[in-house]
């Protein structure tokens, strides 16, 4: 089987669309609500989760035949927590500004359901390379949704994108107002719901 065989490409691409971790598997919703008030943390969180889920997938995949079945969830958790701690320590030492910006998100990665979900559902049954692709795919799939949600929330709540003002002053003079409601986590849920709706309307096979 080639490195970029059809199956492997599907492993990587499916989570970006028809098997998206957030909109189809409905995992990682908690952090999708928490970090999407602005685009920048959403981007950074998406990027960090991608790295961690890919690495954790590879490690668990390598260990998969040795892991005792009864404590497999604990083993997965330990691997994830160790990775996250090491990444966080390295950031503190070599990229202090980034680590200050990330603050709680690094810790939040441990609790991200996508990690446990992929480790349990994929890495425990597949080889390291496939697991790596699956991790990357799911990480990117998660990041895409986060960025889309953050785009709407930041634009409508503050009139900015990545911190830069995009809605011109003249709009405000005409009576346009920022919508403070978009800052609230429930609005992220509504946007995610909207994305799920649009996706299922387009892909009838996703409907039950």
């Amino acid at each position: 089987m080639g490195l970029f065989s059809k199956e492997n490409r599907a492993t990587f691409l499916a989570p970006l669309g028809v098997n998206n971790p957030v909109t189809v598997q409905v995992l990682g919703i908690c952090s999708a609500l928490a970090v999407t008030a602005q685009s920048e943390p959403a981007l950074v969180m998406g990027f960090s989760v991608t790295i961690i889920v890919a690495l954790a997938n590879v490690i668990i995949s390598l260990l998969r035949n040795t892991i005792p079945n009864r404590i497999r969830i604990i083993v997965q958790l330990v691997v994830v927590a160790t990775l996250v701690t090491i990444v966080s320590e390295c950031l503190k030492a070599f990229a202090y500004d980034v680590s200050v910006q990330l603050s709680v998100y690094v810790g939040l990665i441990i609790t991200n359901c996508i990690l446990m979900g992929r480790l349990e559902a994929f890495a425990m049954a597949n080889g390291p390379w496939e697991s790596f692709l699956d991790g990357l795919g799911n990480g990117f799939g998660y990041a895409i949704i986060l960025v889309v949600v953050a785009f709407f929330r930041e634009l409508l709540s503050a009139g900015t994108l990545l911190g830069f003002t995009v809605i011109p002053e003249s709009f405000y003079e005409l009576g346009y107002l920022n919508n403070g409601l978009m800052l609230m986590p429930p609005m992220a849920l509504i946007i995610v719901g909207g994305i799920i709706w649009a996706q299922r309307a387009k892909n009838p096979e996703l409907q039950d």
Partner: protein, 230 residues
């Protein structure tokens, strides 16, 4: 090999824990020094920010040495206890002591020939600690600049206290009333006012964090009341 036997499971778990413990201890030990260095540099940057000094693209440590002239430790009565060491004073530990027994840090700085006092303060936000540095003019009344930060407030809401938009609103506010008594600066809901003292608009959607800043200013600057009245 039977990977489901009790012996295997216990040995597997033990070995895993030992490996992970060594790994984490090694990483933590190896990076400790670099991290501490970063924390100290970051603290210097925070103090420079409260003095409205732009350290972007410059050596923050050198700028700090240029602007900060003295690092005094004072007691509650406002008398100087030690001439040095304020930088390494553990504000959190001091906050846990009885008010009268606390040691307080005062950074005496000089910007454009005028002396400024930078006072570190610490309080509680919604999710964790918040802290700040307040730079006062030589009259120990007018705010020259501020810096606020937090450990884990919600981005877009409470975390907005760390943005220049919030901290700049404090410039030239007074912490004393017309009679010269310490009254702090109030954080009010946008649109509201406070007749008894100077006020700054709080963060919409970050009410608890804003109240935390209000309390932190009251208590934090309140510790210095004898120093401020000297």
């Amino acid at each position: 090999m039977n990977t489901n036997s009790n012996t295997y499971t216990i040995i597997y778990a033990s070995v895993m824990v030992i490996i992970v413990a060594f790994l984490l201890a090694f990483v933590s030990g190896a990076l400790k020094e670099t991290q501490d260095e970063n924390v100290r540099l970051d603290k210097k940057k925070q103090i420079l920010t409260s003095l409205n000094v732009n350290y972007e693209g410059e050596d923050a440590a050198a700028l700090y040495d240029k602007y900060v002239k003295e690092e005094l430790i004072i007691n509650y009565a406002g008398d100087v206890v030690e001439e040095t060491g304020a930088f390494d004073l553990d504000v959190k530990a001091e906050n846990d002591k009885v008010l009268e027994e606390r040691n307080l840090a005062v950074f005496v700085c000089e910007v454009d020939g005028e002396s400024k006092y930078v006072l570190p303060i610490r309080g509680a936000g919604l999710w964790g600690p918040i802290w700040g540095y307040i730079a006062l003019d030589a009259d120990k009344n007018t705010v020259y600049g501020t810096y606020f930060s937090h450990q884990g407030e919600t981005p877009g809401l409470g975390a907005e206290i760390a943005k220049p938009k919030f901290s700049n609103a404090f410039k030239s506010k007074k912490i004393k009333n017309a009679a010269g008594e310490f009254v702090s600066i109030a954080i009010v809901k946008p649109g509201k006012t406070d007749d008894t003292k100077d006020y700054v608009d709080g963060i919409s959607g970050g009410t608890i964090t804003s109240q935390g800043v209000d309390a932190m200013l009251m208590d934090g600057l309140g510790q210095y009341v004898n120093f401020l009245n000297k």
